[in-house]
């Protein structure tokens, strides 16, 4: 990205919450916090101070499948930033005092999350549709598991997961000369290649999805929610993932999508209705969320069912498919402007060996025609295959 004035260094590791064993719940995310508390060489807070003094910034995020740590710096500071980042991630100090203090911060993060009713409803849905699995568990973990955890347990998790074959580094933006050779000589290249668990998240363990229906009452909810979730293909099946992306766009992206047009524009029974595709390694998840007045919940459920049945019964129009192709294609193209976004996509794809070029997923768009979408995708997005959760304002059950 020659026009960029920044370089993004993005370290990825197959060490998300799905890598946690029993008793480790929340440790992947807590480790992400602890990494910033210093390394063998860097004291607490020293990394942030040095990166920010270079005019850069840093952050990290833990998902179900993986975790990534990124630093965004001016290109002239990329070499130093790389050394600092790798030192921090690969050699975390995990000192006892810092551990206790940072655990309090994570407990505050959990409390903040619990104070958001919207987040709670989504968590309730995941818990029900992915029971007894990592995808159904909060990434932040539970207070009990965090309070029972120790620096030694975290150290074992780190040693088990942060192996060479589980890690990759993506660099995007302005690429200064010499960075590649610096990387070759870095701690990254020296990582042991052993692969304790065959690549981390076990793709051979497919998502066990449970369909069903439940209603709950949630305090402080101001509008009712109708949520639905469906299982979808795992991330490695890019063709199927792109088909699902097209389908959710046909259904719920833009004023002319089927669900938005029917429920929000014509019937005017929802404030909003969205569908999201979360691409995951063990099996992706499609989620629908409608916000509506509590007395309209039943009608919303019925009308959603009618729209979903219609797209499974008759092929969609050619212009609907073309509209969806444009929106999905541009969604990816438009996301490739900033080094952080490019490094994020490239890092995740490389980590899991999905595709070689950033725009490769777009090739699959042309595979899908209205009839193939109907038989292979829309037929899988029906009410009986979903877990539906209705959340109403009120005191907890």
């Amino acid at each position: 990205m020659p026009e960029s004035t920044l370089t993004c260094l993005d370290f990825w590791c197959k060490a998300g919450s799905a890598s946690e064993a029993t008793g480790e719940e929340g440790i992947a995310h807590f480790l992400e916090h602890m990494v910033f508390k210093g390394s063998q060489r860097l004291g607490p807070g020293q990394f942030d101070r040095r990166i920010e003094a270079l005019g850069g910034s840093s952050n990290a995020a833990t998902g179900f499948d993986d975790v990534h740590f990124h630093a965004l710096v001016p290109p002239e500071a990329a070499a130093e930033g790389l050394d600092l980042l790798l030192d921090l991630v690969l050699e975390p100090a995990l000192e006892a005092d810092a551990y206790a203090m940072e655990r309090d911060v994570v407990l505050e993060e959990i409390a903040q999350y619990r104070d958001q009713p919207d987040d709670q409803v989504i968590q309730q849905l995941l818990t029900r549709c992915c029971p007894d699995q990592a995808y159904g568990r909060p990434i932040l973990g539970w207070e009990t598991s965090l309070l029972a955890s120790t620096p030694a347990l975290m150290r074992r998790f780190h040693e088990r997961r942060y192996q060479g074959s589980n890690c990759c580094l993506a660099v995007a933006g302005a690429l200064p000369a010499g960075l590649e050779s610096r990387l070759t000589a870095s701690a990254m290249a020296a990582l042991p290649k052993k692969d304790v668990e065959g690549g981390g998240v076990q793709r051979s363990t497919p998502l066990r999805f449970k369909a069903g229906h439940a209603a709950i009452q949630v305090p402080r909810l101001e509008a009712a929610r109708v949520l639905m979730a469906w299982p979808a293909a795992p991330a490695e099946d890019q063709l199927a993932v792109m088909g699902m992306d097209l389908a959710t766009t046909v259904l719920a992206e833009g004023r002319r999508s089927r669900l938005v047009q029917h429920l929000r524009e014509e019937l005017q029974i929802v404030e909003s209705i969205d569908m999201d595709l979360t691409v995951l390694e063990q099996g992706s998840l499609v989620m629908l969320e409608a916000c509506c007045p509590p007395d309209l919940v039943e009608q919303v459920e019925q009308e959603v069912q009618i729209v979903l049945a219609a797209v499974a019964a008759e092929p969609i129009h050619a212009n609907e498919l073309e509209r969806a192709r444009q929106l999905v294609g541009n969604g990816l193209r438009f996301s490739l402007e900033a080094p952080g976004a490019v490094a994020g996509i490239a890092g995740a794809q490389t980590l899991w060996g999905h595709s070689k070029s950033l725009l490769e997923p777009l090739i699959h768009l042309n595979h899908w025609d209205p009839e193939t979408l109907r038989t292979s995708v829309f037929s899988q997005l029906q009410t009986e295959q979903a877990f539906t959760l209705v959340a109403l304002p009120g005191d907890e059950d």
Binding site: D48, E52, A100, V105, A111, P117, G254, N319, Q326, A338
Partner: protein, 423 residues
């Protein structure tokens, strides 16, 4: 002026163009008794303009895989278009029509109003939103910045297409700025003024001739909010208490502005910031901490925020207050000052990575009456700001703060009592 004030920012991209049209009429200009009117007008602009009704407009935009939205802020409306360069010629006229020829069909305005009312209600689920609402009320009262741009339910629900028409007619009278960034097709601009969508703007007024269009009370330095140290309490059955503490300060571009931005960087930007170190790393009492200090045409809020569990909230509040007080009482050491400068420089680079960010910043500067080189000049002035300048600026602009709390009722009273002792 014959057209919106036009800014071109060609950048090599893989065929992407962002357009930002800033209209100098925001929620701060909502008429008395019609709070929410400009947001309703802004969202209704995407529901039909020029020859396109709501469906034809959606077909055009979504058919190109483009994005089009209108966001209403306190100082203005921002229409954002993102598209491929090959679609730009077909889509750009829509911006002109939104500004000059909104359809405002009654049924579309009514639908948008109902959606806004529901969104207003749903916002009340968020304790951070409630705490900020309380602070805003304390700080700005019924002034231009005193309400959420979405409006106030009682006033919003009586608005309709007829009440929006006079406001729509005003859109072209107060000047607008159009900024294009990315791959800009050369043929796009030739004869822009001859396009029907832009012709009706020819009687418009240039931005640079227009002063801030906000209530004098809000625009002047002597803006006087509630008594110093006033408190807003919003009881809510949550686990945490959300704390917001701050004051209305200066407009963007004011002589004190750069010093305030450095203080913001010192206090709240990044993991090396004072609040992060003090509340998170030293005491572990909060997860999310920061400083809210947006660029505004008039007295911009400067608000410290944190949220803590009930049992830790008293300590958090003391630490927030201590951090605030120190700004006017102590000099930053040279290392912290240099770090704040580096973060300010970094922020500018971080905030101009995408075509959308670039176009928005360019449009914003002109809309606020600042010249295109404002950011560059700010960078050059950084060295002139020493620790004493920052301290005296804090003493002048950051006097006793106003406090808003949202959380469990019993804890709020304890905290309010603590607060009275602190100040």
């Amino acid at each position: 002026m014959p057209l919106p004030d036009l800014i071109l920012d060609p950048v090599n991209t893989p065929g992407v163009m962002a357009a930002k049209l800033w209209i100098r009429r925001g929620s701060g200009a909502d008429p008395d008794g019609e709070r929410g009117a400009h947001q309703l007008l802004g969202s209704s602009l995407t529901r039909g303009c020029g020859p396109l009704d709501h469906l034809a407009l959606a077909d055009l935009v979504e058919g190109c895989g483009a994005g089009l939205r209108c966001d209403t802020h306190e100082d203005g409306m921002l229409i954002s278009l993102k598209c491929r360069d090959t679609d730009a010629a077909e889509l750009l006229p829509v911006l002109g029509w939104m500004l000059s020829a909104p359809q405002l069909r009654p049924e579309q305005v009514n639908l948008e109003r109902e959606l806004s009312l529901q969104a207003l209600q749903r916002q009340r689920e968020d304790p951070f939103h409630l705490a900020y609402d309380g602070w805003r009320q304390l700080a700005y009262g019924t002034g231009p910045y005193g309400h959420d741009p979405l409006g106030v339910s009682d006033e919003l629900q009586v608005l309709d297409a007829q009440s929006l028409r006079p406001l729509a007619e005003q859109l072209t009278c107060h000047g607008s700025v159009l900024a294009l960034s990315g791959t800009i097709p050369t043929e796009l601009l030739s004869g822009l003024e001859d396009r029907p969508a832009f012709q009706s703007l020819q009687t418009g007024q240039g931005l640079n001739q227009a002063g801030p269009d906000l209530d004098d009370q809000c625009a002047t330095e002597t803006f006087a909010p509630q008594p110093q140290g006033a408190v807003s309490l919003h009881p809510l059955a949550t686990e945490q208490v959300v704390m917001m503490l701050g004051r209305p300060t200066r407009p963007h571009g004011h002589p004190d502005d750069l010093a305030l931005r450095l203080l913001q960087a010192h206090l709240g930007v990044g993991m090396s910031s004072l609040l992060f170190r003090r509340l998170r790393e030293d005491h572990g009492v909060a997860y999310d901490v920061g400083v809210h200090h947006p660029a505004r045409a008039a007295a911009a809020p400067f608000v410290l925020h944190a949220s803590s569990s009930v049992e830790r909230a008293r300590l958090s509040l003391r630490l927030l207050h201590q951090s605030w007080q120190e700004l006017a009482e102590r000099l930053l050491n040279e290392e912290d000052l240099e770090l704040a400068r580096a973060k300010f420089r970094g922020q500018l680079a971080h905030a101009t990575q995408t075509t959308g960010q670039r176009a928005e910043r360019r449009a914003q500067l002109r809309a606020l009456g600042l010249d295109d080189a404002h950011d560059q000049r700010s960078l050059e002035q950084l060295k002139e700001l020493d620790a004493e300048v920052l301290r005296t600026t804090a003493a002048r602009c950051l006097q006793t703060p106003l406090l808003s709390l949202c959380g469990p009722k019993e804890s709020l009273h304890t905290l309010a009592e603590d607060w009275r002792k602190l100040i």
